[in-house]
Symmetry: C2
Subunit: 283 residues, 2 copies
């Protein structure tokens, strides 16, 4: 892959002795501009290469939600981990869209669309797995030690990408992931549009289906709020847990009573996720 | 003061074992609806009375910015401190407004306006000092141990309110406060509109003027980013420091190199502020 060196700085903020930076760049993969944010911990200030956690956000989010609301950067600064947060889809007037919040811009579902009009720009799987890490590793003082995490639609993204690329990530985790998209309204709507009616191609983007037949394992941690309004209809962590039992997958899944689907939940448990990833990134 | 018991719940979220709650209520003081958020730490879950930190936000903010972006609730949960964050002004169609971001709705400046059309609703000083604490203390399991803090316009609010009400607050702190509003563009514009051209009434809303002649002291902590775009023209911490020297005021003021005016700065140092307040609230 050729790396386009023209990444444009949008903002720079000092935080916890490190730096939060936002960039825009033309992505060849999605054939449009993409925005991402990176946190570089103080350990990287003198050019030392640090490992990277990729964070995939949920429906309607941008690169900003996690960086501003999760309270993660304090811990990443302590542990010496960079965090990269891409936008959830390409955006712009030329990019296909839909009036609903769960399809089109802000709802890329971290897959490669095969159906018109989506296939022209919605190639978020290749963007997150290939182009973005190549740019990050060529541009910033980071190593090729990677972990991946995300929330809701981004939890689905983190788990499916981790399961399909066990050799590229040391560990994976998710908050409130869509565990079985081929069976729930959010997933059926998005996969029908992006991948078409033939469900054969849907299975490789379903964390439960992938975990059930997995042969290569990486450590996996999932946290879910027990008072999440989307728990029963959209998320289905019990399906993921059953799949892990089938394959013997090393999954730590915890339901937290009283917590909902928001960043108030994520912020309460992000420290445990970062420490989990640090343990595997240090090896 | 009679307390209106009709406060309406807007949202409830569990976070760090405690609860973040938003409310709307009709304020008799500002003669309009006001919104506020409260964080109740886990120590309050069984009705134990906890002390309260009042947080005053900056221009354009609502009750949400601090609660979502500062990373404060983790530490407040550990220390057993409630946090109350009011909106920065009354809002609504009936409330006077201005097209600029630094006057009118979202820019109440924590004073009692004497000039039309502002005086009808912009009574934020009395709201924050009297009505809001009375409602909080009558409604939630909190004690009358209070501290006050804020950012930018809210830092101005916290310092002026703390200086004028030393008997009501155990401690005060601020991030990037407008330290000398009578001398800077933000302050001159707001005070001219709300208080009128006669500058005699301006002095009691200027932290530097109040600190210079203060006789009753409460511990005060101020942090300021050295790379803050507003530092020289609008904030003037050097004036506050000089005032503290004049009166012998117990002010800890620190300039942090490289940090700007954003919540990335606040989140980096909020833990130290909460521990500072906890020390004085525990007495």
């Amino acid at each position: 892959m050729t790396i386009d060196p023209l990444i444009e700085s949008i903002s720079v903020n000092k935080i916890f002795g490190g730096w939060h930076k936002q960039y825009s760049h033309h992505s060849k993969t999605v054939n449009a501009n993409m925005r991402f944010a990176i946190f570089l911990p103080p350990q990287a200030n003198n050019g030392k290469k640090v490992p990277v956690l990729y964070w995939l956000s949920g429906l309607t989010c941008t690169d900003e939600n996690f960086m501003q609301k999760a309270g993660a950067l304090r811990i990443a600064a302590e542990l010496g981990i960079a965090i990269v947060s891409p936008d959830t889809s390409p955006r712009g007037e030329e990019v296909a869209d839909d009036n609903s919040y769960d399809l089109g811009q802000g709802a890329g579902f971290y897959l490669n669309a095969s159906q018109a009009p989506w296939s022209r720009h919605y190639q978020m799987y290749d963007y997150v797995v290939k182009e973005l890490p190549a740019i990050i590793e060529a541009t910033f003082p980071v190593s090729d030690k990677r972990a991946i995490s995300g929330h809701s639609m981004g939890g689905h993204g983190a788990l499916t990408i981790g399961l399909l690329n066990a050799e590229r990530y040391r560990s994976m985790s998710a908050f409130s992931p869509i565990c079985n998209p081929i069976k729930v309204p959010w997933g059926k709507k998005a996969f029908s549009a992006y991948l078409g009616k033939d469900q054969a191609s849907w299975y490789q983007h379903d964390a439960s289906e992938l975990m059930r037949i997995a042969k290569q394992f990486i450590p996996a941690k999932v946290d879910q709020g027990g008072a999440d309004d989307f728990l029963k209809e959209q998320l289905k962590p019990e399906t993921l847990e059953a799949a892990a039992k089938m394959s013997g997958y090393p999954l730590e899944l915890t339901i937290h009573e009283g917590y909902d689907h928001s960043y108030y939940f994520i912020s309460s448990f992000i420290e445990a996720h970062l420490r989990f990833h640090a343990e595997h990134l240090e090896r």
